[in-house]
């Protein structure tokens, strides 16, 4: 009797458990460390915006997949003219915005005109400046003309910054985002969470999830507890130092992927003594890359020798250009006229990778006589002092834009590198569409800045996600900013 009773209890428990699992099986709660300041990805630079809305609420003409390849989005197909200047996009039929209005070529024109407008607040306006005109051919065809060929054009229009918005709703997208994506915005409880729900009339393949909640937890210890307690089902980028908590736990899976974040010791090339090549070479020789990667990223970072992502097909390995060699570094410093070294400041933004890398670099630089004073700053102050006013000697920062080697061709950029040869190469690269030729040019550019030791090249940031072991379909890599829920689903 007792046996049957406990059996009955057990099966009742099992039933309860399965029904609970069933009830949970189409919903997800994603932990995010930062709350977005607004929800319009075309009007703000914050990564936190794209994390919530990119490809979930909003879609572009193209979309980027988790390996960084361009896929078709709202445009079903396109043709490119011989000279690489004219793009004809065929749009999907039957697409509606979440407020019920229909999507057509006019919305595309509106979107790009808005990005390029005089008073545009788009964070990446420069990426789209090659666009000369956007013409509505018919409601489902749009023609975009460029002033110069742009090898990255299809990638750039797939970014969160160029998602298609409607003239009826664009004004309010910051608080009430209305796009064409598989998920519609439901509510935003400031300081706590954003709720999205599956959009019934979505034009494409329906996602497995019916509801997604982004829970904002800025404190890592709280996030750890939320994950362990099951209050959130996962987070896309968890602090590497606490990953061992989850690594051997069968209830979780840890996804380690690549990002576009080249972390560098940015050097003010326009300032004494950093304008001397030998000084920069000496510093490059004094950077113990592996130690920094182990210390700041717990081994998850990937070493880089130039300003280029290792997973990119154009990448060449330049990590051995200036191997760690303190004697060589001292020699070079002496050649440059600083046999006893010098003092400099290292301004650090408030991110863990920077504060830790900074301490390790300061410790190694001290051994060749370069005395670094570490100055910790808030983001706003860092952006103003370092990025805008170029008032710095050295800093550590991750450049997270994809394919951004072109910043070295801008002599007014904050690290002040002015090399006409490099600038000419960059122009040629921008105007080249032939893959083999582009690769060759990109590799030559990587080599030049590595040899010039423009900045100290440290590592490519990794993305380390922690998810419930029963979840599948999350992006492992982060070629663009975003937590795309399209393919995420529960498996038993």
């Amino acid at each position: 009797m007792r046996v049957t009773k406990s059996l009955a209890l057990a099966s009742a428990g099992l039933l309860l458990a399965t029904s609970l699992a069933m009830a949970q099986s189409t919903e997800i709660r994603v932990g995010a460390p930062l709350e977005p300041p607004a929800l319009d990805p075309t009007a703000g630079a914050a990564e936190a915006i794209d994390v919530v809305v990119y490809q979930n609420v909003f879609e572009g003409l193209t979309r980027i997949d988790q390996n960084g390849a361009v896929q078709s989005g709202l445009a079903s197909e396109w043709t490119i003219s011989e000279d690489g200047l004219t793009y004809d996009f065929k749009l999907h039929d039957g697409v509606t915005f979440h407020d019920g209005t229909s999507f057509d070529a006019e919305d595309v024109k509106f979107t790009f005109d808005r990005i390029l407008a005089e008073n545009s607040v788009n964070a990446q306006k420069a990426l789209y400046e090659a666009i000369e005109s956007v013409t509505v051919v018919d409601p489902l065809t749009v023609e975009i003309k460029l002033s110069r060929p742009d090898g990255l054009f299809l990638f750039n229009i797939g970014r969160g910054d160029a998602v298609i918005v409607a003239p009826e709703s664009a004004e309010n997208n910051a608080t009430q985002p209305i796009g064409t994506g598989p998920f519609a915005f439901v509510q935003w409880d400031r300081g706590s969470r954003v709720i999205l729900e599956q959009y019934g009339p979505y034009w494409g393949e329906k996602p497995a999830l019916t509801k997604a909640t982004y829970v904002f937890i800025s404190d890592m210890a709280t996030m750890t507890n939320a994950l362990l307690a099951g209050d959130v089902d996962g987070t896309y980028n968890f602090s590497a130092e606490a990953l061992p908590v989850f690594e051997n736990n069968p209830q979780f899976k840890v996804l380690v992927g690549t990002t576009e974040g080249e972390t560098i010791l940015s050097t003010n090339n326009a300032k004494e003594p950093f304008n001397k090549l030998e000084v920069r070479q000496a510093m490059a020789h004094a950077i113990n890359r592996q130690e920094i990667i182990d210390g700041a990223t717990y081994g998850y970072g990937v070493p880089i020798g130039s300003h280029f992502a290792p997973h990119n097909p154009y990448y060449i390995d330049l990590t051995n250009t200036y191997p760690f060699d303190l004697d060589k570094a001292k020699e070079l410093l002496a050649q440059a006229g600083y046999p006893d070294g010098f003092s400099a400041t290292l301004k650090l933004p408030p991110v863990n990778y920077a504060t830790v890398s900074g301490q390790i670099i300061a410790s190694d630089f001290a051994k060749i006589g370069i005395k670094l004073e570490l100055i910790n700053m808030e983001w706003a102050q860092w952006l103003e002092d370092v990025f805008a006013n170029k008032d710095f000697d050295l800093t550590i920062i991750s450049h997270v834009e994809p394919f951004d080697i072109g910043i070295y061709a801008n002599p007014d950029y904050y690290f002040g590198y002015n090399n006409p040869e490099f600038q000419a190469l960059n122009e040629t690269l921008n105007a080249t569409t032939d893959e083999a030729k582009r690769k060759e040019l990109a590799q030559e550019m990587q080599t030049i800045i590595a040899k010039d030791a423009v900045n100290g090249y440290l590592f490519e940031l990794a993305q380390t996600g922690v998810w419930n072991a029963k979840l599948d379909g999350m992006w492992q890599n982060a070629p663009v900013e975003g937590v795309v829920l399209r393919d995420v689903h529960w498996v038993e």
Binding site: A242, V245, E291, G295, G358, Q359, I360, L374, N376, Q381
Partner: protein, 281 residues
Amino acid sequence: MRTAWMRHPGLMLGLAASFAFALLGLLSLVWTPYPIGDISIARRFAVPSPDHWLGTDQLGRDMLSLIMSGTLTSFTVGATAIIIGAGIGVPLGLAAAIYGGPVEWLVLRFSDLAFAFPSIIIAILIATLMGPGAANAVIAIGIFNIPVFAQVARGGALTISTLDYVAAARLAGLSRPAIALRHLLPNIASLIIVQATIQLSVGILAEAGFSYIGLGTQPPETSLGLMLRDAQNLFLIHPWLSIAPGLAIAVIVIALNIAGDGLRDILDPRLRRQEVGRVAG
């Protein structure tokens, strides 16, 4: 006197522990087992061993060296804040006691105002204006200390100013500031010393708090609160990194409080266990 000291074993213990930590901190000025900037990732997370008595932290730095240096930071911040607090607060309190009237009213309202603002808000304000750093923690805690000392000085002075010898001094023609300086201040000195001991522990706790939330000491300097902050994300994996500085803070604060209590008993039996130190934050 000797018997009085003997009757307070807690006082002896508290003073001994406080001095031991203070000496440990001072020692770090001239010697630590390892230089605190000596980073070596290869030897990080070492467990306590003969080489590293308290193990090593997430950057491979020697924990004992860090705690010694952190203790110095804590004591320096706490003590400087007391100098600010007592330096401004005691004269204010004395002025309130001897002048009374509008002066007293002003001092009391100022105290109320300062108490109404938790010191953490003052610290955030200062950090926003001047950027985070140990100096700002000193200023914030110092400002918090001012009304504490003002009230103690005023209270003590009021009690004493009713005594006959103060009246005699006044009849002898001494000016009010002279009375305050010659007769009141020496007599409330013991009260102030007791309060200073307690405020030192409050200051050390507050400094740890500020550093923990990122407004106080900044790396590569170190403090006990900063060590806690660094260890926080690692707590589940390497709990020792949090426990060591946490214990150090707890022991210092308890020792100072016991010492302060005992000192009160000995120096001013009339006020025995009446006033308890206020807590910052």
